[in-house]
Symmetry: C2
């Protein structure tokens, strides 16, 4: 919990520096609580068949969520979850998950 | 090129140790030459909107490619590429891309 709290404070500082875009990531982290059973708060898949999404390309994450929401892409679990999410939620979640993980940090 | 050659030798040694599964990754690396313009040989996206796929969950990569091939998932570029690929190609490519990158190496 302390690590998570410290991370949240860190993100908050980034948000203060970068205004709206990073504030979305802070909101996204809170919204990601409903994603964590499958994708983790760290963006690493927790169940078979789910993809890792930490550090994924933000535009790709947004498109994926929109396609699940519209029914263009089909997955039972994602259809249920996306039914509850707004366009703002999608943007916030994409900002959060795109900004974490090794690919986001350039650790390759 | 030396780094790539050394990597290929390394994968070859793994293949010798692990038999069929790792041999698929070696074949997959060769087949990945047709993927690199968008996804890179390192699995990092090279064009806007394409996802990073290095270190992605293998089963997810297989499902994604099958869905693009069947038309269940729609993307013009992927539709063209998948038309040429067999089930064996899909397995080999998934083995290659799942086995590279920080998530595959546990660098988190």
């Amino acid at each position: 919990m302390y690590a998570i709290a410290a991370f949240a404070v860190g993100v908050g500082m980034v948000a203060a520096a970068h205004r709206a875009a990073a504030e979305d990531a802070v909101a996204g982290r809170q919204k990601a609580l409903q994603c964590q059973a499958c994708h983790g708060l760290d963006g690493l898949a927790k169940i078979p068949g789910a993809p890792h999404i930490g550090g994924q390309v933000k535009e790709y994450l947004v498109k994926s969520m929109r396609d699940y929401k519209s029914g263009m892409r089909k997955d039972e679990m994602m259809a249920v979850v996306m039914r509850q999410l707004s366009e703002q939620d999608i943007e916030d979640l994409a900002a959060y998950y795109a900004g974490i993980g090794p690919q986001a940090k350039g650790e390759r």
